[in-house]
Every structure is written in structure tokens, then in C-alpha cells.
Amino acid sequence: MLDNPHPAQIVRDPPPKGSGETAPRLTLSGISKSFPGVRALHNVSLSLYPGQVTALIGENGAGKSTLVKIMTGIYQPDEGAITIDGQTVTLPSAHAAFGHGVTAIHQETVLFDDLTVAENIFLGHAPRTRFGTIDWRTMRKNAREVLDTMHAGHIDADVRLKDLGIANKHLVAVARAMSIDARIVIMDEPTAALSMKEIEELFLLIEFLKSEGKAILFISHKFDEIYRIADRYTVFRDGEMVGEGLIKDAGQSQIVRMMVGRSVDHIFPQRKAEIGAPVLSVSGLSHPTEFNDIGFELHKGEILGFYGLVGAGRSEVMQAISGITRTSGGTITLDGKVIVPKSAADSIEAGIVYVPEERGKQGVVIGLPIFQNVSLPSLKRTSKSGLLRLAEEFSLARSYTERLDLRASSLSQDVGTLSGGNQQKIVIAKWLATAPKVIILDEPTKGIDIGSKAAVHGFMAELVAQGLSVIMVSSELPEILGMSDRVVVMREGLIAAVYDNKGLDAETLVRTAAGIAA
């Protein structure tokens, strides 16, 4: 682990007084958890109150996921006590946590696509007939009742989950929580993949859960959401609890300071726009189901932002340009030459690289060391007639990872042991090391900590200054507005508008993306 330059000082508000204050539903005290070589949590505490939402705030790697896994019985703490309704309990398994009324709704809603809504709600605690077999009729009836109480009667209990949208899947997850009479509901970044409208619906649902007296733990990176919905907050940093209190008493900058242990005003790098001739031009690019008639131009030294709601088809277009998926028509012209990439290998050779959004699945190769990850797309250059040259690989890896301010103990370390932010630096480094003409960054700062974000943004500015052209797909408005020269907005697989980023405001972008007339 890295040294923490700022030893944690616990900022604690005075304990709330008055008779209106209820006792906590769940208390974690003195929880510690270590993994080989990593101290994930050290002596942390957390309290959840009935009818209240507590926001758990911290950078990536602060220990939030570990804590959730301890609360849901997936991990066992090394030290510390868990108290539910004043009674000390142990949660040796997910089933035990379930039995104590703890349930979690996760980032990628972990439910079963091929099972029906009713089955998902009652998996593990289905009503039985006299013979001990599943009582399907009662199950469907109960499922409908639960959905009705949540004002979600529009969801058909017999439909398979994969036929529902993500927001409705969340409703099913909540219905599941209701059906086991969960008293403690953990929501781990539930809004990460939701559109604005869906987020609003989720908030209504959280209000409903509050009114039912559930104790809710809400984990999010987004401050506007936290201020909107939470009653309390707890801040983690580097596996330690560094502050807690009532949200109404805390300012945003105060919480950010606690999170990062330093004051960070995230300022996007200033850069002089020296936009040159078109480098990449795309016209009429189409796919049978994903996008249609996509056309745009990218200039030398330009950052072209791609904004849209999640699922608008932005990643799909980018993957087609970089040869990963096939198109049904259209042309891609790079430096005046028409290219037809049939694989990522083709597009990399041509000079277009795609840095994917799904870091773990598509980006890093966990199991291989850092230097081998970085050199993977450039193996042709670092090897000589098929023979590896380790010295070349190390020097390539070093030059790019050090420019990105990677924190690692050595270049032979397995990438799986790095934090999300540092993995993202590897992901960017590996494609950049191919010396491309065009780099496509898909959600380059999604789910990484503020420090790493700044490093990535600074680096992007450096790249375009050197004459590289960048396409940046992002769903974060500040990032789009702060970094792009021009912004393409996509909606439902089509280009809705292209804006010059001069005096462009967030509202215009959101309206265009959502298809709302001004």
C-alpha cells in the first residue's frame, strides 16, 4: 500500500440529541478486514437508522465495496462487531445476512435474466406447497402484491427479467428486498447506469422505502444525488472512517476534503486550441439494430465529445469504427484513405485505437503483469521477428505509465492488484503506446477517484497539444463541457446534434440527448 500523506483525522459531529432521535437499526463498530498484502478496512464504524438514508462516500479503493460485502455476509471481518437492533450478530453467509433482513441492490443489478420477475423476487424463499414443492400460484400472487404496494403494478410478474429495462430491473430488486421484509437496504451505486428520468423514479422509490421505515445505505459518486436523497453521511478514506454526520450540516467542499484528504478544486486543464485539418471522417455508418447514418469529422488536435444517455449507441459506433463490430454500410476515411477495419488489429495498424469503457472485461488482462499489459497491442514493435524483447517492453511500459503517474511497486506487478484508477491508467497507456493518430476514449474517468481523473484529463490535454486527435465518449456533463472542442449528441442510435463548445450549456445538451424541445 502507498503511504497516506494525510493521516486520518476523524471529524465527528456532536452526537444528535433530543427525544426524536431513534436508536440505530444497524451498527458496525471497529470493523477491520485485510487481504494478503492489502488492508482494506481498518477500525471503521457505521450506523444506519430506520427511515433514514445514510450516504457512504469515498474514493474508489476507500473500502466501500468491502464493507458492503461484510454487511451482506460475503466476507467475514477480521475484527469488530455487527449489531442489529441492539443485538450482536454474526453474518457467516449471504443466507444469514438475508435472514437478518439485510439486502443489497448492486451496481449491475445482480438478478437472473432468464428467470421471471416473480422467480427473481422469491428466489431462495419461495412459498411452498404442502409437499414442499414451489407454490407457483401463491408466488405469482405475492409478487403482484409486492409490486402493487410499490406502485409498480405495471410490471408483469410472469415476464422474464431480460425483457425489462434497467430501471424496472431495479424495481424488481427492490421488490425482492420488500418480499423478504428487508429492514436494511444497501444500494451500491444504483444510479450508475440510469438515465435522468430513471434516477427520478428511483428516488421516488427510495422515499417510499424510507416511509416504510427501512434503514438505507446509499453509495454514490454523485454529490447532487447524495444531497438530494441522503439524511446522513459517512466518509471513508483509505479503509478508514474519517467523518460522519447529518448531511444538512455539511458543505459539499467539506465532504470532498474529507474524501481526498486535501482540497481539490477540479479544474480542467487549460489548452490552446490549435485545430488542424480533418483526420478522420465518417459518413453514413450504419448497423442493422444499433445505429444509423452516423457521420462526423474529427480534426487534428481536437477533442470531440460524444454525449448521450446511456444506451444511445455511442460505444457501439466507436466499436464499429475500431473494427470490433461489423457495420452494414458507410465509409471511414483516415488521412484521406478509406479504411475497412475488420478487427481491432486492423484499426490499430491503421492508427485508430479504442480504449473501452469496461475496464475489467475489455481493458486490462488480469493475470498478466503491468508491462505485458502495456505492450500487448504493440507486440509487433517490441518484438523482433516474433521474438520477445523484454527490455523494449519495459522501456515502452515505463515511458507511458510514468507519464500517467501510475502508482505501482514494480512493472512486473499483476494488474489485478492495482486500484481502479491505476488500472485505468494502464488501459490508456496500452493503447496510447501504439502511437495512434486517433484515440477513442470511452468513459475514460468512469468510476475512478478524483486524483486519477485529474491525471487522465491533464494527459488528454497533453495528447492533443502533440497533435493527436481524441474522441471522448462521456456521460458526465462537466467532463464533456470541460474537455471537448465540439460535442456530438446521440439519441437512440442517431446523431441528434453537433455543437461547438463555445458558450454551450449543460441544459442544451441534456435536452438534446433526451429529445425534449427547448
Binding site: 478487427s343 481493458g363 486490462v364 505485458q372 518484438s383 520477445l388 510514468e402 511497486s409 514494480s410 512493472l411
Partner: protein, 331 residues
């Protein structure tokens, strides 16, 4: 942002503690091999004779040749259960050629080409149609051996030319057989291919994360296809050796070899889930399996009982590090 330290120089590698070398898989295999060697030499006075030791090598050379290619295939996340059936089909084809009056060079060529062709067929089904290799090769296993049965029924081909006998029975120098030399050469070639070339690196990348490898410009399908071809090729070579050693072809030749080859690969420390493994480990595992079968053979232990030892060895060697880690972890 003054308090972020300036970029430091990240070292290439940290000095590995000695314990990591001591507890490596290869070290464990060496210890096991030495132990079995010692037990064998105490148990049987005939064991330490150079001619006995030379005979010993025939127990693993043919399977070992296939195991090298299989190791690469398993590291890439695929598997080939049809290798023994490829041996049967290639041997049958050679037998047919003998009936037609083919000479030794043609026979060898036929064995190798049939092996390569069968491997390419597996590779096409897996990479072009995107089918799971375990199922495809269960199918082609029946298809290849079934074809041998259709051609031969309960008959056998004999009458291979005398010069053909060299491959499976000949000696290059003193007690060093042609098969052993071929095994050692293949070991060096495959070690080089897996650990020293960009091809080998890509194989590891595919095994650990095929999607990320594809996004990184690795031609995943092409590499897997080549690996299936290599496995077929090695099976074809093994078929030449076995046919030459036995001097006859029956459709049931090399029955059950596929599981022994896979056992060898897994025992050698290759992860059955893909992404990890080494050729040195496979070589050691081949020696160990040869030692066990041969040592027990000298003690007149029947083959079927030997297989118990191989099975136990496989499970114990895999389980040992896990149990050891648990005990040390204090769980």
C-alpha cells in the same frame, strides 16, 4: 496539487524472495519426481539400469509430444479431447497406405497431414462457428475414431515396412531413443514458442481475458486455430511413433490417451481454466508419470492399478498447495 509526489521511477521487477522459488509449482514437481525416483530405485534392483531407464522414456514420449501442444491450447482457454482419436484415424490412414504399397516417407507424410487436417477441422468448428471446444472435440473424437472403426472394423493393418520401425523403436545413440530425442527437441521448441515469442505472449493474454485481448488487436480466432492445428500436428506425429512402435494398427489404438495427456498437462501446473502454465512443468509431469508407470511396472503392478496412482497424484498435487495455503492462512 502540490502534495502529489512527482513521478517516481517504477522498477522493472522487485527482487523475489527465495521462498517463492522454493514453493513454485516446478519445485514441487522436482521434489515429487526425485521422491518417486528414489522409491523406485530402492524398490527394484532393475530400475537403475540404463536400459531400463531408456525403456522408461517410452512411457511418456508420445503422450508428452501431444501434451506440449495441448498445454498451449489449454492456456488459451480451449481443450482438445479428440487427440487419441486423431492418432487412431492417422494410424488407420497409414495402414491403408501400406496396403496400397506406400513407402516410409509417404507413410510419415500421411500421418502428419491427417493429424494436421483433423486439428484444422476442430479449429474451424471452434473458431469459425464459435462453438465450445469441449463439446466439439467430444463430437470429433467419436467421428475420427468412428471413421477408423468404419474402415477397419475388427481387423488390423500390419506389414509396415522395416525402415518405418525406426521412429518408434530406433535408437539415435547408445540407449537414447529417437522418440526421446524428438521429445526433448519438441520441449525446447515449445518452451521457446510459449515463453520467448510474441505468439506465446498472445496465448497467455487470450487465456486470461479473450475480450481484452481481442480489443488489444490480438487475432484471437487465428491464434486459436493455429493452436488446434498444432495439437492435431503433434497427434499425427505421435501416431507415426506409436504405429511404428507397435507395428500394427487397430481402431482402438491409443484408447484413453486424451485423458492421460490432459492429466499430464494439468499435473504440469497448467491451469485448466486457462491463462497460466509452463512447458518446464509439463516436461516434469511427463517424467513423473513415466516414472510412476514404469516403477510400478517393474514391481509387476498391473496397469489399471497404476492409473489409481496417476489419479491420486493428480488430485493430491493440485490439492496440496490449496490445503497448505489454508493451513498457513490459519483457517
Amino acid at each position: 496539487m502540490t502534495d502529489i509526489p512527482a513521478p517516481r521511477r517504477i522498477p522493472d521487477r522487485l527482487d523475489k524472495p527465495l521462498s517463492s522459488a522454493i514453493f513454485s509449482w516446478e519445485a514441487l514437481l522436482v521434489v515429487v519426481a526425485i521422491a518417486i525416483f528414489a522409491i523406485n530405485s530402492f524398490a527394484s534392483p532393475y530400475f537403475l539400469d540404463p536400459y531400463s531407464l531408456s525403456d522408461l522414456t517410452f512411457n511418456f514420449t508420445e503422450k508428452g509430444l501431444i501434451a506440449f501442444a495441448m498445454a498451449l491450447l489449454i492456456i488459451s482457454g480451449e481443450i482438445d479431447l479428440s487427440v487419441a482419436a486423431i492418432i487412431a484415424l492417422a494410424s488407420t490412414m497409414m495402414g491403408m497406405a501400406v496396403q496400397a504399397g506406400a513407402g516410409t516417407p509417404v507413410l510419415v507424410l500421411i500421418g502428419i497431414v491427417v493429424g494436421l487436417g483433423c486439428g484444422a477441422f476442430n479449429g474451424l468448428l471452434v473458431t469459425r462457428l464459435g462453438l465450445p471446444s469441449i463439446v466439439v472435440t467430444i463430437g470429433t473424437m467419436s467421428l475420427f475414431r468412428g471413421t477408423a472403426f468404419i474402415i477397419l472394423g475388427d481387423q488390423a493393418y500390419k506389414g509396415y515396412p522395416e525402415s518405418f520401425a525406426f521412429f518408434g523403436q530406433g535408437y539415435v545413440w547408445w540407449v537414447v531413443s529417437f522418440e526421446l530425442v524428438l521429445f526433448l527437441v519438441a520441449a525446447v521448441v515449445y518452451w521457446f514458442l510459449l515463453h520467448r515469442t510474441s505468439f506465446g505472449r498472445r496465448v497467455f493474454a487470450i487465456g486470461n481475458n479473450p475480450v481484452a485481448a481481442q480489443f488489444s488487436g490480438v487475432r484471437v480466432g487465428r491464434i486459436k486455430f493455429i493452436l488446434f492445428c498444432l495439437t492435431g500436428l503433434m497427434s499425427g506425429i505421435a501416431s507415426v511413433l506409436i504405429t511404428s512402435r507397435l507395428g500394427s494398427t487397430r481402431p482402438s489404438i491409443a484408447q484413453g490417451y486424451e485423458l492421460e495427456v490432459i492429466t499430464m498437462v494439468v499435473l504440469g501446473g497448467v491451469s485448466i481454466l486457462g491463462g497460466a502454465g509452463s512447458i518446464v512443468g509439463v516436461v516434469l509431469a511427463a517424467f513423473i508419470m513415466g516414472l510412476v508407470t514404469f516403477g510400478l511396472g517393474l514391481l509387476n503392478v498391473p496397469g489399471i492399478v497404476m492409473s489409481i496412482f496417476i489419479g491420486l497424484l493428480l488430485i493430491i498435487v493440485i490439492a496440496l498447495p490449496i490445503v497448505w495455503r489454508r493451513l498457513r492462512g490459519g483457517r
